[in-house]
């Protein structure tokens, strides 16, 4: 190591542990399911394809959790977005682009309403977003109780456009070269993730989010407009939820009431596994990305294994969650002892 000592605080440790865990799990999968082709690049890309929506929603959740809040309405908002998209395009004959724009605006409005209640009326985020969750899910049912599948050509062309990678191809049984591919949803998700990462790390707004979450009183004394920053964070989160819902919809191409149930807990679990503290002030969207990937890897494990039942996903994620939460609390205890 050079003159500059690499600074490793407990938060970096947590992020490192998450990344190492993901690599170890994935490597284990490659070894165990070698004969079934776990090691193919396509399997890795599928993690992104099936979780594109969750990546974006988890990024929004991370922002909210850094402010010290929580948003449990995201799953319902995703369902509402899917239903609205399907309903507007199929039952109202709208084009894909206007429908998408309307949905994004609705996401923003949702963010404004929740942000106002949290930041200006100082109602607990849990209660506000609980109401938001009820509201969005109920509205989904009011729009339509039956499933609507999307047949809009433009939308489907977005959903099914395969973008091939120029390398890593495998030869199939017929002797054809097959290149691994991703869908546009993955590209959008990664671009948004990068944008959020840069915003949190390098902009004034991003830094002030950390300040507000770390200590609201100090932030206020520093002259930050705490209320406005919180409101902005919720608006941004509402927008990200709408985008996440759109990406989710590209995957399912349908809207129905029970869609994306438990999505909020997946997003929260991903963020927590990625090292974001629910007390606020600490967090990183890259960690959340790995949280999502770990969840995806567990699911892939279960599909490849074939005989395990779906509830093992829930139990494994909960066990991981317990592991990370206890680890965080131990780090926090060690830190407070060091400072004292």
């Amino acid at each position: 190591m050079g003159k500059k000592k690499l600074k490793l605080d407990s938060n970096t440790y947590l992020l490192l542990i998450t990344i190492i865990l993901f690599i170890v799990m994935y490597a284990a999968g490659v070894v165990v399911f070698h004969d079934k082709g776990f090691g193919r690049i396509q399997v890795f890309l599928n993690l992104f394809i099936s979780n594109a929506g969750l990546i974006v929603v988890a990024a929004g959740m991370t922002i909210i959790m850094i402010t010290g809040g929580i948003d449990i309405s995201v799953g319902s908002v995703v369902a509402l977005v899917c239903m609205l998209l399907a309903w507007m395009m199929e039952n109202k004959g709208m084009g894909a682009i206007p429908a998408l724009l309307i949905v994004l605006v609705i996401g923003l409005i949702f963010g404004v309403a929740q942000g106002f209640l949290v930041a200006y009326l100082k109602i607990q985020p849990f209660i506000v977003t609980l109401a938001g969750m009820f509201f969005a899910r109920g509205m989904t049912a009011i729009i339509s109780q039956d499933m609507i599948s999307i047949k809009n050509e433009m939308f489907l062309s977005w959903a099914n456009a395969k973008i091939y990678l120029p390398f890593g191809g495998t030869v199939n049984k017929k002797g054809m070269m097959l290149y691994p591919y991703v869908y546009p949803s993955v590209i959008i998700a990664i671009l948004i993730l990068a944008a959020v990462f840069i915003m949190l790390k390098y902009t004034k707004f991003g830094r002030s989010i950390y300040a507000v979450g770390g200590n609201e009183q100090s932030a206020l004394l520093m002259g930050l407009n705490v209320r406005r920053i919180k409101l902005k964070a919720y608006i941004l989160n509402g927008f990200l939820c709408a985008v996440g819902g759109f990406l989710f919809c590209l995957n399912t191409s349908a809207g129905f009431v029970e869609q994306a149930k438990g999505f909020e807990m997946e997003a929260i679990a991903s963020a927590v596994i990625g090292g974001t503290l629910l007390t606020g002030g600490v967090g990183n969207v890259i960690g959340s990305l790995f949280g999502v990937l770990i969840k995806g890897t567990i699911e892939t494990f279960i599909t490849f294994q074939g005989t395990l039942s779906s509830w093992w996903t829930k139990i494994t994620i909960a066990a991981l969650l317990a592991f990370f939460i206890i680890l965080q609390s131990l780090f926090a205890k060690a830190n407070s002892k060091k400072n004292a």
């Binding site: 109602i123 009820f134 109920g138 049912a141 629910l278 509830w311 139990i315």
Partner: protein
């Protein structure tokens, strides 16, 4: 004027007002709302139905109130714990079979094991919150995620049916008694909880820990033990509620027992005028809150709103009530009033 102020400043004023409002709407919409008739020696009627259906919620709300009061956080795992308790009870009674027509193990054994499992779940949450100092919502998130998975694991992903007549007693009627059994269970739980909290110093301890846990520890209270106890009790309540819910459908349905109940229970606590940041609490308020929610649900069903559209109205009610309770909102209203007064006075001067 002073009398009105005295009444409105009474802690349970808002919760009772809400309940009366909901009931009034009912009377206007369905004049037969308060009518009670007797069929086959059992009481029937809307009001009985509300009281009966609210039972699980009331019991959960009692446990939740104490958790909120002592730790300033919520236990979001109660719904999942309900389904675990129901699953384990049916598993024991059916000895692993899928459908049975006679108990494989004594009934009482099933009940006891289910309640013990409920308490164990509560202890796990309590350990994380009180000893590991983890935020309550995050700590209970673990069981929230795992609970239904564990319940499915126990029932092997199937629905276990207990086709024995007396298994239905807890969620139905005991022959010869016109009131549903659940009402008696609720009365016992609420009265016992109230007695313990009021007649011993425990209630006071919980309040003091909730207001300032550090100060309470300095005074000589074992803060973490009290927080732990409230979570264990909340688990017990979830176990009782799970048994009731399972008895109503004489089966263990891991996916649907107690679904979204945690949200309703937290809502009941908030509706009861309890601060969600801990400290002062009123069990009675939460009980009233729980009945209000059930009355609202029944009303909306009677107005032919479907089950999945129901949440919209619940959301609107929640936002209105918590806004009214918000100090900032009251400040804003006062500010507006002052401005209006100012304007009027200026008009007079002009």
């Amino acid at each position: 004027m002073t009398k009105i102020k005295k009444i409105t400043s009474y802690g349970l004023f808002l919760p009772i007002l809400c309940l009366i409002l909901v009931l009034l709407i009912n009377v206007i919409k369905t004049p037969t709302f308060f009518e009670v008739s007797i069929k086959n020696g059992v009481l029937y009627g809307y009001i009985i139905d509300v009281i009966n259906r609210a039972s699980e919620l009331v019991i959960l709300a009692v446990g939740m109130t104490l958790v909120v009061a002592s730790s300033g956080g919520t236990d979001i795992s109660v719904g999942a714990v309900m389904s675990v308790a129901a699953a384990i009870c049916c598993f024991v009674l059916a000895a692993g079979e899928q459908t049975i027509n006679a108990y494989q193990n004594p009934y009482i054994l099933g009940i006891i094991i289910a309640l013990v499992i409920g308490v164990v779940c509560g202890c796990w949450n309590g350990f994380l919150v009180a000893k590991m100092k983890i935020q309550p919502m995050v700590a209970t998130l673990i069981l929230f995620t795992a609970g239904r998975g564990i319940a499915q694991l126990i029932t092997k992903g199937q629905i276990t049916y207990i086709r024995v007549e007396n298994y239905k007693l807890l969620g139905g009627n005991i022959p010869g008694i016109p009131l549903p059994t659940t009402i008696f269970v609720v009365v016992i739980v609420v009265v016992l909880a109230n007695l313990i909290l009021k007649k011993t110093a425990l209630g006071l301890y919980i309040q003091s820990v909730g207001i300032n846990s550090k100060a309470s520890r300095v005074v000589g209270l074992k803060s973490s033990r009290i927080i732990f106890l409230t979570y264990a009790f909340c688990g017990l309540c979830a176990g009782i509620a799970g048994l009731m819910a399972s008895s109503r459908i004489y089966s263990a349905d891991a996916n649907n027992i107690g679904l979204n109940m945690e949200l309703d229970a937290i809502l009941a606590v908030a509706l009861g005028g309890n601060s969600l940041s801990g400290g002062k609490f009123s069990i009675l308020g939460s009980v009233i809150g729980a009945y209000t929610i059930q009355a609202l649900t029944t009303t909306l069903y009677a107005m032919s709103v479907s089950a999945d559209q129901l949440p919209v109205y619940k959301a609107i009610v929640v936002v209105i009530i918590v806004s009214l309770q918000s100090k900032e909102f009251n400040k804003m209203v006062r500010g507006l009033k002052a401005k209006l007064k100012d304007g009027k006075e200026r008009e007079k001067v002009a």
